[in-house]
């Protein structure tokens, strides 16, 4: 990492940490179940185009003749396992694609958060002084705006400025960007706290005495030792990002109804909730709740398991 001569060093920290997590998963039934569910969601998301019974991109996917068909166990219609929505789309297919979208947005948004947060946290903690003060107060200010509020203002402005059509094309990137930029302070604070602790340790002094450069000490020596809490936040933040995305979509500021995420699906089904077609809203909700539950459980378990009191390294 970082432009330096010795980039051929293999990164050991990762493998040893992953190994530690793996041995932990094996010894814990809840962890096995949660991991299995997480992998299931990921696989479903990745393989959506292969598993889905219908091709969502083909023009005859929308067929108003098939609108609002109840799920198989009620309507006994074998074509649509989970029924169809108000436009006659196969619910199973769009849920699979929606899961794929929600997960992508969640993971990419958190990746942006992590990238910005880790870099700023590292610099803030290691350099200290005025820069640290400035960055942390900036983070405080940013955190005092709620993510959803910022996103609403930003996305609404964007929609009115560039028109709904441009927005629908760029919706996914906009969501990733907005959610990603909104919550970096969480990562920055966590990383900064661990950097402050690590900075005191003698191995950092030893590296300085060797004459090793500041950037290299920061990224090569300190960073790998601060990643354990980051991993935990990363998992939980994915759940939060997915919730944020769903909320925005529900408010009509997220994904367009032609390319719906889970949130957009719930939103569009909400209108039919009391007119008999409950499944359009309920089934995607269950999928979303399941996904968020899995991410939160995973994060909680990681937090307990990687707790320094038990994590003896």
């Amino acid at each position: 990492m970082i432009g330096h001569k010795h980039t051929d060093f293999t990164h050991p920290s990762h493998s040893s940490r992953l190994h530690h997590i793996w041995t932990g998963v094996i010894g814990d039934k809840l962890a096995i179940m949660v991991c299995a569910a997480f992998i299931f969601y990921c696989v479903v998301g990745m393989l959506a185009p292969l598993i889905a019974p219908y091709d969502v991109n083909s023009p005859d996917f929308v067929d108003l003749l098939n609108a609002e068909i109840a799920p198989y166990w009620i309507s006994a219609d074998e074509r649509f396992l989970l029924g169809t929505d108000s436009q006659g789309r196969d619910l199973l297919s769009i849920i699979l694609y929606g899961t794929r979208l929600s997960l992508t947005i969640g993971i990419l948004a958190v990746a942006i958060q992590a990238l910005i947060g880790i870099c700023l946290g590292l610099i803030s903690g290691y350099v200290g002084g005025r820069l640290d003060n400035f960055l942390m107060r900036f983070a405080d200010v940013q955190l005092s705006f709620s993510t959803i509020m910022t996103a609403i203002v930003f996305l609404a402005l964007f929609q009115t400025a560039f028109g709904i059509n441009v927005y629908e094309d760029l919706a996914m990137f906009m969501l990733i960007l907005v959610i990603g930029l909104a919550e970096w302070p969480l990562f920055a604070r966590t990383v900064r706290a661990s950097v402050l602790a690590e900075k005191q340790k003698e191995y950092v002094d030893a590296a300085r005495i060797m004459g090793i450069s500041k950037t290299r000490i920061m990224f090569r020596h300190i960073l790998p030792n601060t990643l354990t809490p980051v991993l935990v936040i990363f998992t939980i933040q994915i759940a939060n990002a997915i919730i944020a995305e769903a909320a925005l979509s529900f408010l009509g500021l997220g994904m367009p109804s032609t390319d719906p995420s889970l949130g957009a699906l719930i939103s569009s089904g909400f209108r039919y909730l009391f007119s008999g077609a409950w499944w359009i809203c309920v089934i995607p909700s269950v999928a979303l709740i399941g996904l968020i539950l899995v991410m939160n459980l995973l994060g909680d378990w990681l937090r307990d398991y990687l707790n320094p009191r038990t994590y003896k390294h």
Partner: protein
């Protein structure tokens, strides 16, 4: 032994100022804003000369500034005032890049073997980083050979290379730390309490190793410790520090047979010895204070059993004695003259 001064420290002072945020230094006091800072005077004018090839032990209790001395010497914290010379060059004011030249020649071994090695780097990576940083042209094969040689020379097997620090015991880690310091072939090593975290039998191993290395590579040590038993065994000369000042500097034989400064006497009387004819314990009143104000007079005044009014007003100066030691004490000086 030729007496070439390798490192010269003169009038070294270090004050730590606590600075909490932008606003906290301004306090509302007696109707007006005051810029208020909390300071700790860690070093108050240290003069020391380290001769080539010797082991200079610095002894003192917690808070006497011995670790600060090591850190200032190694350029980890800049001194407030004073000068440090390495051979003929002044090094205390250099920045990181200019200092690079001296990094090879001065190295440090730390107190805590559990924190001084990066837990996420293998022994190989730790040593390789040091070697290839200072020898950018060195071929990979040569580096590997050198690492193997280094590990053997500190009593570790080559299979230790690919293991992480947590797989080693405290003593082994201290060997790795020493190997890291030796990897750039320095001539001067500062050791900050390297034995404090180790068990007795392992202490002996590490101390022996350090003595071997000194003979083999003609090293000069500045050895910082609170353990007088180790000093008695290992030192060429001893400097006793109290509250940021050297109060007695003597060769080992002189210090242990004829201690002169009241603090040295008290310190020597407090070692728990195995033999039964230990000297009577000299009780000092109170404990080592934190030097929040620049001391006026002798630093030891508050606890000294023999303090006179002069000790409270005038700081004593290091004076050379007949037997070659130097001490800073009014009372002793007056005893000599009267």
């Amino acid at each position: 032994m030729t007496q070439i001064p390798l490192v010269q420290i003169s009038h070294l002072e270090k004050t730590f100022t606590k600075d909490k945020g932008i606003f906290s230094p301004f306090r509302f006091n007696k109707g007006k804003f005051q810029r208020q800072q909390e300071s700790v005077y860690a070093l108050n004018g240290v003069n020391l000369t380290i001769l080539k090839g010797e082991t200079l032990c610095v002894v003192g209790e917690t808070g006497c500034g011995k670790s600060t001395l090591a850190r200032t010497l190694m350029g980890l914290t800049p001194p407030t005032s004073g000068e440090i010379h390495y051979l003929n060059d002044r090094i205390d004011h250099l920045d990181d890049n200019q200092r690079l030249l001296y990094r090879r020649r001065m190295q440090m071994v730390f107190q805590n073997p559990y924190a001084s090695l990066n837990p996420r780097m293998t022994v190989y990576q730790t040593l390789r980083e040091a070697i290839s940083f200072h020898n950018p042209q060195m071929k990979r094969r040569n580096i590997d050979e050198k690492i193997e040689g280094l590990l053997n020379s500190v009593g570790l097997y080559a299979d230790a290379m690919d293991r992480y620090p947590h797989e080693f015991s405290g003593g082994q880690r201290q060997r790795i730390s020493l190997a890291r310091a030796l990897s750039v072939e320095p001539e001067f090593i500062v050791a900050d309490e390297p034995l404090a975290a180790l068990d007795v039998s392992v202490q002996a191993q590490v101390l022996n190793l350090m003595m071997d290395k000194q003979e083999e590579q003609d090293l000069t040590y500045l050895f910082i410790t609170h353990d007088l038993a180790v000093v008695e065994h290992f030192a060429t000369r001893v400097a006793v520090m109290y509250l940021g000042k050297v109060c007695e500097l003597a060769s080992r034989e002189t210090l242990f047979s004829a201690p002169k400064h009241p603090y040295t006497k008290a310190l020597l009387s407090a070692i728990p010895r195995l033999d039964t004819n230990a000297p009577e314990l000299i009780r000092l009143s109170g404990e080592v204070p934190t030097p929040m104000e620049k001391p006026i007079g002798c630093v030891f005044q508050a606890r000294c059993p023999d303090a006179t009014p002069r000790c409270f007003s005038e700081p004593p100066i290091m004076k050379k004695q007949k037997d070659g030691s130097s001490i800073a004490c009014h009372v002793h000086e007056e005893d000599q003259t009267s």
